[in-house]
């Protein structure tokens, strides 16, 4: 029996919200400001064209799909990649087979459409079914994607070291992602005490079963 999409990413920590600790000794002022900015100041798209942004959004939905979230609750990814490129924030290194980052991203998104058109009757990436979009991405990952762009810039390097990793990093830097994986998140100045295997501080994420036991037995911390 196929699972429904909303159950597909069932968290072990349904009652956990890292933001509940906002005013606790786990969050210092500077970290609150960083996370507040991440939650509230989602920047406008200034670097990508509308088509590029739509293409990238479609890619993000394949790399870290969020079918379980309403539009308003989806973790924003495109705006932060756009901001990085708009403000020219660098990574500290660039593979020699790649051009400077702005050019890399523009070329890469162009290349994805080239591959998409070559494989699927001239259709751009955004018009493909999700499974066909995955086929395009798999071709890039394996380095056998058709397209003129990929003769100048290796598709597999772009996919692995630029495109997918950037999307993944931005996704897992968001408190909603921390919630679903039960990550304790910020921990300054309090830190942790119960470091051993199976150990859990009261301010770390509870699991469903543990919760049930504790509701019976003791006050939930």
């Amino acid at each position: 029996m196929a699972m429904s999409e909303s159950q597909e990413f069932r968290t072990r920590y349904p009652g956990y919200n890292v933001l509940d600790k906002w005013s606790s000794p786990d969050w210092d002022d500077q970290t609150r400001e960083v996370v507040r900015h991440r939650l509230e100041d989602v920047p406008p798209v200034r670097f990508f064209t509308e088509h590029e942004a739509r293409t990238l959004a479609a890619i993000c939905e394949r790399i870290v799909p969020q079918p379980d979230r309403d539009e308003a609750l989806k973790i924003p990814i495109v705006p932060w990649i756009d901001e990085k490129l708009y403000e020219y924030k660098r990574d500290g290194y660039r593979y020699e087979e790649l051009p400077p980052q702005r050019e890399t991203w523009r070329l890469g998104l162009m290349g994805i459409d080239e591959t998409s058109r070559a494989l699927f009757d001239g259709k751009p990436f955004v018009e493909l079914e999700p499974l066909s979009q995955d086929v395009v991405l798999h071709h890039m990952e394996r380095g056998n994607a058709p397209g003129a762009v990929w003769e100048k810039m290796p598709a597999s390097r772009f996919f692995k070291s630029v495109l997918s990793i950037m999307i993944v990093k931005i996704y897992y830097a968001h408190p909603r992602a921390w919630n679903e994986i039960g990550y304790a998140g910020p921990s300054s100045p309090r830190g942790h005490v119960r470091k051993w295997e199976g150990g859990r501080d009261p301010w770390e994420a509870h699991e469903e079963e543990t919760d049930r036991v504790e509701q019976r037995g003791s006050r939930r911390l």
């Binding site: 968290t11 660098r90 500290g92 290194y93 692995k160 997918s164 830097a173 992602a177 304790a184 942790h192």
Partner: protein
């Protein structure tokens, strides 16, 4: 200190508790020493020289961090701690730079390092004698012996208050560590259990984080953000240890100052450093009687090569042609496995909870020379998900589902020896320039066959250990750590850049004092050795 002296103390610098401390202004003087880089090497050297009465300026390209205000509990935001300027990476096995291995700012890489404070071993200083000639590699004995460095290891361990086990099972007998070992975290318990089952010796790691209060610093509270800057000052980075000592002794630590060139006089002696201040294109000059380059194994050769002049057409101190050559890293491959009990690998200190040097030696039965250390790792979600994406090629629903079990994964990783090779190098890029118009570094790296064999052996052993510990879904990720070589020390001026005292063969008042001086990489974390060399160099200069 007399009040008349204090009148020159017109500057302030961040103290370690958020206060401002007075600092001398030496910008208009010809100082005894201008040190480029306030990290592991530069910090130790600067403090000792200043305490001996020399006038010292330490330049650093990045900020002077205020640990209680500037460091955040967040992976992405901590990018500011790393060297983010453009560098081009290539070769057969191009390495990751940036947040992987390159610090920026006062304290250098010790601000984000994993604090594993290991000594190299007597054999590490005479690999050429022990292993002989190996095709494709340029193994050299060090001009220093273990005995030369031993008192300095001890000195630095005391200054950093290393917390370690009562009895450390490998290497020369040693006196007790200044502080007691830290309690093992879950990931360390996993390593200990796996090793014990397999009969592999294992021990709590000696690490540069306080386990008990020391002076004005509290013990570690196990936040687990060690690689992103310590907000409580438990971590013994040079930022909170040697740098405050240097400033108190009258050194000026000049942050946001990017060295562009070492100037030389008509005799071919170093005369000072030309540098850019942040957000300015104007070139400033610091006059100095001697210059020390301590910028780590990429920026150090870059500065020397960028200092080429008519007297030194191939770069400063480069008559051997070896500046930038024999660039090394460590293989840092990691193995992760999923466990029945919750691990919560972010709790820590994840790096260095426990380690084994059981394989850190040339093993008679192996088809390679040298070896590796296995240590505990504990990536936070952004880093862990990145490993899943790049090493396991997970994306889509599969990635999100695997990440739901993040708290159940535990990881270990190696510090694997890398043999020096001429073809691995840091050179100036032909065309690319940075924001100051300086040629950017172009880094070429590829593994030697011996390196590959070490990695294969290590991955197989790590998988065995994780399985013996009860791990499932065992997988490995490739990675490198540390930046070494490019200005090796030696006694023959045609075959090395500096001598055993870190003095350039070609320029009598130029010194290099960081990871670039290593002739071979060793299979231990390099910071303690860098600091021991710096402590020794200071004593040689003071005499």
């Amino acid at each position: 200190m007399g009040n008349e002296l204090k009148e020159e103390w017109t500057l302030t610098a961040p103290g370690i508790h958020g206060e401002l401390v007075p600092m001398r202004d030496l910008s208009r003087e010809e100082v005894d020493f201008c040190i480029v880089g306030a990290g592991a090497g530069g910090g130790v050297l600067g403090a000792k020289l200043a305490e001996a009465g020399f006038s010292v300026v330490i330049l650093d390209a990045g900020s002077h961090w205020n640990p209680v205000k500037d460091f955040v509990s967040d992976e992405l935001e901590s990018r500011k701690l790393f060297w983010m300027d453009e560098r081009i990476t290539g070769g057969d096995d191009p390495i990751e730079l940036g947040s992987n291995n390159s610090g920026r700012g006062v304290g250098g890489s010790t601000v984000h390092y994993s604090m594993v404070a290991m000594r190299a071993h007597p054999d590490d200083f005479r690999r050429r004698t022990l292993e002989g000639e190996i095709a494709g590699a340029e193994i050299r004995d060090w001009p220093l012996t273990f005995a030369d460095l031993e008192p300095y290891y001890e000195e630095v361990e005391e200054a950093l208050q290393i917390a370690g086990p009562t009895r450390y099972p490998w290497g020369r007998r040693r006196k007790r560590y200044p502080q007691r070992e830290h309690e093992l975290n879950a990931s360390a318990q996993v390593l200990v259990r796996g090793c014990t089952k397999l009969g592999i010796s294992v021990a709590p790691a000696p690490i540069a984080t306080l386990s008990a209060p020391h002076k004005d610093r509290p013990p570690c509270v196990y936040r687990g953000f060690c690689n992103y800057g310590c907000t409580t000052n438990a971590k013994s980075s040079t930022l909170v240890t040697y740098i405050p000592r240097a400033i108190r002794a009258g050194a000026e630590v000049r942050a946001d100052s990017m060295a562009a060139q070492i100037s030389t006089d008509e005799r071919g002696h170093a005369s000072g450093v030309l540098y850019f201040r942040k957000d300015s294109r104007e070139l400033f000059r610091q006059h100095a009687k001697a210059v020390v380059v301590a910028g780590y194994a990429v920026e150090t050769p870059r500065l020397l090569l960028n200092s080429a002049s008519s007297l030194f057409p191939h770069g400063l101190a480069n008559s051997s042609g070896l500046v930038g050559k024999c660039f090394m890293v460590h293989s840092g491959h990691q193995v992760f496995a999923k466990f029945h009990d919750r691990i919560n690998q972010y709790k820590a200190p994840p790096p260095g909870g426990a380690l084994t040097e059981h394989f850190n030696r040339t093993m008679r039965e192996a088809d390679f020379v040298c070896g590796y250390t296995i240590e505990v790792v504990g990536p936070h979600p952004v880093d862990f998900a990145s490993r899943l994406a790049t090493a396991r090629k997970l994306w889509g629903a599969q990635l999100r589902r695997t990440m739901l079990d993040y708290n159940y994964y535990s990881g270990i990783g190696i510090v694997g020896e890398i043999l020096p090779q001429q073809k691995n190098m840091v050179k100036l890029h032909d065309t690319e320039r940075d924001e100051y118009g300086l040629p950017v570094p172009h880094i070429l790296f590829g593994y030697h066959e011996n390196d590959q064999r070490i990695i294969q052996h290590a991955i197989a052993k790590m998988k065995e250990i994780m399985e013996a510990a009860g791990g499932e879904d065992v997988w490995s990720a490739d990675r490198t750590a540390h930046l070494l070589g490019t200005c090796r020390m030696g006694s023959d001026p045609s075959d090395s850049v500096i001598n055993a005292d870190c003095r350039a063969h070609d320029v009598p008042n130029l010194y290099i004092c960081d990871g670039s001086v290593f002739p071979t990489s060793t299979a231990v974390n390099p910071s303690l050795t860098i600091q021991a060399i710096a402590a020794r160099t200071a004593d040689r200069l003071i005499k």
